[in-house]
């Protein structure tokens, strides 16, 4: 089975990792925003879980980006991860 041509998988990958990290997995939402050269994956979690996906000194977010980077190399496409925080989430839903 090849995964080279399935960018949806990246959205699913981030969703699954984020769900494992948080206390409210049902609140995890990942949107894919296509840019010219890359795809931005925008991760939203419950406000109380934001710290869990970012981590102390951003280390959990950095680790997720490292994983995403390795996997996207195999997909031959660039993906970046944005974590939307509470105030940003409020603004985005207006």
């Amino acid at each position: 089975m090849t995964h080279e041509e399935r960018p949806d998988d990246m959205q699913e990958l981030v969703t699954e990792i984020a769900r494992a990290l948080v206390d409210e997995p049902e609140a995890v939402i990942v949107e894919a925003v296509e840019r010219e050269e890359s795809t931005v994956l925008r991760l939203r979690v419950a406000p109380s879980d934001v710290g869990k996906v970012i981590g102390k000194q951003g280390r959990t977010a950095r680790s997720m980006r490292t994983i995403l980077g390795a996997v996207s190399m195999k997909h031959h496409h660039r993906y970046t991860l944005d974590i939307l925080e509470e105030d940003k989430q409020a603004a985005a839903s207006e």
């Binding site: 998988d9 950095r62 195999k74 925080e85």
Partner: protein
Amino acid sequence: MPIEDYNAAAQKIAALLKTLTTTGGLRLKYRITAGAGAGEPDGLEGCEIYVELGGPDAPLLTQRGGELLHALEHVAAKVIRLENEEHDKISFDANNFKAIRAHELKVSAEAAAERVRRTGQPYSFAPMSSRERRLLHLAFRSFEDIETSSVGEGARRFVVAHTKGYDASKLASLQAAAPSFGGGGRGGRGGDRRGSDRRR
């Protein structure tokens, strides 16, 4: 908080790795050992969950000082809800990368101890991650005449070996050695802090 249920923890880590091999398409094999003193080759760290990775994509894990290996280890530790100070309870390795590194540290500890004895001067190591510094401190425990300290802040923090009773106030002015190959591990790349995550 100790790891209360090894089985549940191992299953959570297996699920994470399965996500990477199925959804993520990484060709990795893994073996998870859980329990007190889980299967680390030299047993120095005394970890409780040991994950050994292999397979065609394993070289990806050990590139750039093991960046991906450490990233997986960190996420796995968070998935089983370990606090930062408990991260040593879990250890990931691939193609013996960390085992070889641990052996290197042990050998360099012996050489450094010899040099400190001969010269009486403190010996500075290169900056390293907290886990590698811990391994070094542990390696020096067998030398009764040598003590170790950590000096410096953050990613620049390094271990100094010195004679017993050496004036600790003199240590702060020491410089770290130049990083060796494979050294430092995850310590070196600090840029991506919390503030970069779209705060307003």
